[in-house]
Amino acid sequence: MTKNIMIVGVGGQGTLLTSRILGGVMENAGYEVKVSEVHGMAQRGGSVVTFVRYGKDVAEPIVEEGQADVLIAFERLEALRYANFLKKDGVLIVNDWRIDPISVVMGTAQYPENIIENLERTHTVYRINAMEEALRLGNSRVFNNIVLGMAAKHMEFDREDWLKVIEAKVPPKTVEINTKAFLVGYEK
């Protein structure tokens, strides 16, 4: 059975690193893995999505509507935008954080209220304010590993599997803080 994971967020939030850590863990577990990323224009603050698929035989590299087992969202509005990619029994991990699109900043559109509460009615949702937790660790940039930690708890791999890959994929100087960050999410 192929499993489908999506990471969504705002360009610049580091979805690429997260997808590569996910891919690394699954590769080590002996699965065939495909990762599909977004580079280029969308990285400038646009809505971004990356896909990770693993299993015995994986053909297409993308996850399509209605097919995601796990949706990891780094921002609330993006969670809502891609919620229809989740399977009926899929799991949503959401960073309880808001980044206003420019139309909202300029007052020509409204940021939807109660996004997470509404999604909870139809989906299994785990939420965390990873940005706040990351600031508590002293580095806002590690928030994505906190979210990943929370997602990891709902996946089949062991804690050590994750830590090994994080150590290999993040810049050497940041291994300690990224490991700490991951564990904050993992142990929530």
């Binding site: 893995v33 990323e37 280029g40 224009m41 646009g46 509005l77 909202v104 900043v105």
Partner: protein, 584 residues
């Protein structure tokens, strides 16, 4: 020993080039092709460079091929338009050392200004085209490409797409081969394209394609997978190429599939035989009906674009719905505010645009991060065609309507784009006596494609420090006297200069110089924070549209300290001193 490694399609292409013994590579960045060069330069024994544009890159590769070594040029599909001139002619000349061009298409327009299909150009230029469907094939096909190039004495194009270029899967790593350099023998009848020679070469080119067409029917990159899938008792088959093959495999692993690894020339006999063995034939190809048109021209019945689209990326769901007739019950995407890309917090282009906006100037735009200035709230960029076009189109407007007509216009062009083709347009303005105002948005990098160096930055692809092209000297060398360098964050000065220059009866160039906010060297020691007691809720600071600033319910301002880069532009907008710089 064989080792496997996760690789992006682009990294696999680089690996393949290296394993094939490539010695020279030249490219101009362009999503989704950029990483090929960035990866290739890491390997030993390869010279890899950034050229100022794709035409130059292609010609460098051609020169290296003349010298007898395997060479490469990489570009995005619109780059092939720029390089079309050498590519069409080198098709006649052929290849000494293997000559490969990688051209990356962008179905779905993730980062491009159009959705053109490189396979059409391959047919027009009579150049063979290979199409990998995953990273492993990307590497393998690169090696085939060099073999084909040398066997048939032809350049070869490898066509990729965004999805292939930016997807990762496992790739088997092999060693590098070191093919012997070809010896150079003068042969003007082959390498000098004058009418007399080209006439004869044209015959060779057409025969070459015929030979390849037959040969391709028995090559491993074109493969038939016979299956037993039926719909309503009818045996179905797909002809497909590149990434769409993966969607077919995802949904119909038991269908009969003819997977084309080479889409030019098409293996006619193979296709005819395959078509005979199925009852319903689908052609599943992204973008243009290139395969379909040819298959139909051979009198073979098929289903193609009447069912699938010419626009956008394909998907497995497309097959589920349109071929299998499944109702997927997919919830519609909710009606929520879209999130288009925007200029980064601290982007120097925002500073320039805030001044243009205040002065109510229109901008003839160009291609780069600064194209985003077309969108609200800045909305100062009125036109964008292709790289370099800002300057030439402003010139055209002036020649159409006179200088007064464009006194409220400027051309805006990035530093990398200026080096790419903008310089030609500026020479034209000088030569043909235009009086317009050109702003070079000089952020010291090729921002949009992920911060590559160019001739103006003083660094090469391999990280070597070299003398930088000095823009004021270059421009003055043309003969243009009126060149000003301004820091765009000095908005008062930029305002003054712009007011003056746009009214002058003289061509002027303003170099708005401040580094891209994402350059590692560019760290401000400050952040900006609001002082609520002084804020009158006027919203002036929001006007440039920095994403770090938002309005609270009560109209007061909030600055996201994790996003603010301390550029100070918002402070300049505020007349009440309600924003202050604090130590970061």
């Amino acid at each position: 020993m064989s080792e496997k490694k996760m690789m992006l399609g682009n990294a696999a292409l680089a690996r393949g080039a290296w394993e094939a013994g490539v010695k020279v590579s030249s490219a101009y960045p362009g999503t989704p092709s950029t990483e090929i060069s960035e990866e290739l330069v890491k390997y030993p024994g390869v010279y890899a460079e950034w050229a100022p544009n794709e035409k130059v890159a292609a010609e460098v590769a051609i020169g290296a091929s003349f010298a007898g070594v395997r060479s490469l040029a990489c570009m995005k599909m619109v780059g092939l338009n720029v390089a079309a001139d050498p590519v069409y002619s080198v098709s006649y000349i052929g290849a000494d050392g293997g000559l490969v061009f990688v051209v990356a298409d962008d179905p779905g327009l993730y980062s491009s200004q159009n959705e053109q299909d490189t396979r059409r150009v391959c047919r027009a230029a009579v150049v063979p085209c290979l199409e990998p469907a995953d990273s492993q094939e990307a590497k393998d096909f690169m090696k085939y490409a060099y073999e084909i190039s040398e066997k048939f004495d032809t350049p070869v194009i490898i066509r990729t797409t965004t999805r292939l270029a930016h997807s990762q899967c496992e790739v088997e790593i092999c060693d590098r081969v070191e093919p012997e350099d070809k010896e150079y023998k003068r042969d003007p009848f082959k390498r000098v394209m004058m009418p007399g020679m080209a006439k004869k070469r044209h015959l060779v080119v057409e025969q070459r394609m015929k030979d390849m067409e037959e040969w391709a029917c028995s090559q491993p990159f074109n493969k038939v997978e016979m299956g037993d899938m039926t719909i309503d008792g009818k045996k179905i088959g797909f002809i497909t190429d590149g990434i769409p093959y993966q969607y077919v495999k995802e949904v119909c692993p038991n269908a009969s599939i003819l997977k084309l690894g080479m889409c030019n020339p098409l293996p006619r006999k193979m296709i005819e035989d395959f078509a005979k063995q199925v009852d319903v034939l689908y052609i599943f190809e992204e973008l243009e009906p290139v395969i379909e048109e040819q298959v139909r021209a051979w009198g073979i019945d098929c289903i193609g674009k009447e069912l699938f689209t010419i626009q956008g990326e394909y998907s497995a769901n497309m097959i589920r719905e349109r071929v299998l007739g499944m109702d997927l019950g997919i919830e519609p995407t909710p009606q929520i505010p879209p999130r288009p890309p925007i200029l980064c917090p601290g982007c120097p282009h925002r500073a320039t645009y805030s001044v243009l906006k205040k002065l109510k100037l229109h901008a003839a735009g160009d291609i780069g991060c600064y194209t985003l200035g077309a969108l609200a709230p800045l909305a100062v960029v009125d036109t964008t065609v292709c790289m370099g076009s800002s300057i030439s189109s402003l010139h055209g407007m002036e020649k159409a309507k006179g200088h007064d007509y464009i006194k409220n216009w400027v051309a805006v062009i990035g530093d990398s784009t200026f080096m790419h083709t903008g310089i030609n347009s500026l020479i034209n303005m000088y030569y043909n006596q235009s009086h317009g105002t050109v702003i070079i948005l000089d952020n010291r990098t090729t921002g949009m494609t992920g911060h590559q160096d160019h001739p103006g930055t003083g660094k090469t692809l391999s990280g070597e420090t070299v003398p930088a092209v000095h823009f004021p000297t270059l421009i003055k060398g043309i003969g243009i006297q009126n060149v000003k360098v301004v820091n765009p964050f000095d908005t008062e000065e930029l305002t003054r200069v712009l007011k003056e220059e746009t009214q002058k009866e003289e061509l002027s160039v303003i170099i708005a110089q401040a580094p891209c906010a994402l350059l590692k060297s560019e760290v401000h020691p400050y952040k900006v924070q609001p002082l609520p007691e002084k804020c009158v809720h006027c919203g002036a600071c929001l006007q440039p549209g920095c994403p770090a600033l938002t309005k609270n319910e009560d109209g007061s301002i909030r600055i996201d300290a994790t996003m603010c880069n301390g550029c100070g532009l918002c402070m300049k907008m505020c007349r009440f001193g309600a924003l202050e710089q604090v130590k970061a």
